[in-house]
């Protein structure tokens, strides 16, 4: 009986040595695996979607290859409603290789603005749920996940239309002008048409004006809106106060009216 017991001991010891060596080498290899994120690049597609390309540099200097590497990102708003979901899968990363993976995230600003127009005027934080996984050493599936916030910059941050100034052009017409200011905090250049309607205190439409504007990302806009108003008998008594109705047209998304009182 001594021989089988001894053989059993030797066999288990050998398997233990292999198992421990494998685990130790796998843990040691993890030290030589580096994953870095590059600077994201933003582009706006012709159908109005915001494409975010996030470069990911994987340098596998460990002893083992990586299988089924995947990266998933889910963007949600403050209420937890899903805005965007993206996934990138790389089936195989051999050991000793340095590869660059491009993780593409598409955000549809229209659906975002449909949910809440505040995204147009106020900066917000979007929640990002990030999950990356791989089959380490082809035997140990591992997953890392994190939650962080992604700043959303409003394209019409601090939008304001100032008090109108009136100037007589001739006996029948008056020129009105009002300053319009905002800051484009968005990560994209803004090309939009803004239509403003001028109403008096009796809610009568006096005039309307259209402005086409192009505002580069992270820059402020200051301009004047001009109206041509027909002079009527009641004009002086009703024009002292009223409101502007502002309509925004960004080609792919429209919003309005935004009512801004004056006087």
């Amino acid at each position: 009986m001594n021989v089988p017991i001894r053989m059993l001991g030797i066999a288990t010891s050998i398997i233990w040595v292999f198992l421990i060596a494998f685990i130790v080498l796998a843990a040691y290899s993890a030290k030589d695996l580096s994953v870095d994120f590059g600077e994201p690049e933003y582009t706006v597609t012709p159908n109005g979607e915001l494409d975010l390309a996030l470069p990911l540099y994987v340098d596998n200097r460990g002893y083992y290859s990586l299988k089924n590497f995947y990266l998933s990102t889910v963007f949600t708003d403050a209420e937890g409603a899903e805005i965007s979901r993206s996934e990138t899968i790389v089936p195989f990363i051999p050991h000793g290789e340095n590869i660059t993976i491009l993780h593409n995230i598409s955000i549809d600003p229209i659906s975002l603005l449909e949910k809440d127009e505040q995204y147009l005027f106020n900066d917000n934080d979007l929640n990002v749920s990030f999950t990356a996984g791989l089959n380490f050493a082809e035997l140990l599936p591992a997953e890392i996940s994190a939650n962080f916030t992604f700043p959303w910059g409003a394209p019409f941050y601090n939008f304001a239309v100032g008090e109108p100034a009136f100037e007589a052009v001739d006996l029948t017409h008056i020129r009105a002008s009002a300053p319009m200011t905002f800051e484009n905090h968005a990560m994209f250049d803004l090309a939009a048409n803004i239509r403003v309607e001028l109403y008096d205190s009796e809610d009568s439409l006096l005039s309307e004006s259209q402005t086409a504007l192009y505002v580069p990302q992270y820059s402020a806009y200051e301009g004047d809106i001009e109206f041509s108003v027909s002079l009527t008998a009641s004009f002086l008594s009703t024009v002292e106060s009223g409101h502007f109705d502002v309509y925004f047209d960004m080609g792919v998304a429209q919003y309005g009216p935004l009512v801004i009182p004056y006087g």
Binding site: M1, N2, I5, L8, G9, T12, I15, W16, L19, I20, I23, V24, L25, A27, Y28, A30, K31, F136, L139, L140, P141, A142, E143, I144, S145, A146, N147, F148
Partner: protein, 152 residues
């Protein structure tokens, strides 16, 4: 008298040999641990509690091993061997749980599926326990055989 002196000399020699064997084995195991721990540094940085847990495991394992070596050729050797195998299994069961290793660092959480490793380790530790029980049975059998030969 001379026979008694010889027997006592043999006993001292035997005990000294057991102590030396236990010391060498303990030193070898600790050296192995000392050499392997730096390789686990990436893991230990993420989960510092693992280092304390592994250290406690090594200490208890070495103590049981020394006791087993000191009581060699007695039934207590098998008691300590079985205790060591049971301790190993208990440690494995408690530390690995469901075989999924989870840890958090700042806002990140890491999950490693160690089910395969856990299954192999649990099987090997079961084989180890079976081996110690077989050794104990074999020891009792040989002892009984020797006693029966003496009586005959």
């Amino acid at each position: 008298m001379a026979k008694q002196q010889k027997e006592s000399k043999n006993l001292v020699k035997d005990v000294s040999f057991r102590i030396a064997k236990a010391t060498v084995k303990a030193i070898l195991i600790y050296l192995l641990y000392f050499l392997l721990v730096p390789m686990l540094t990436p893991l230990l940085e993420v989960v510092p509690s693992v280092a304390e847990s592994i250290e406690a495991f090594i200490v208890i394992y070495i103590v049981l091993m020394i006791l087993g070596d000191l009581t060699a050729k007695t039934v207590f050797e098998h008691f300590f061997s079985t205790a060591r195998a049971l301790f190993f299994m208990g440690y494995l069961l408690l530390s690995m749980g469901d075989g999924i290793f989870r840890t958090s660092y700042e806002s990140y959480s890491l999950t490693v599926n160690l089910t395969l490793f856990y299954t192999i380790a649990a099987t090997l530790s079961l084989l180890g326990l079976a081996r110690t029980i077989l050794q104990a049975i074999n020891f009792m059998h040989e002892k009984a055989e020797a006693d029966s030969k003496l009586q005959a």
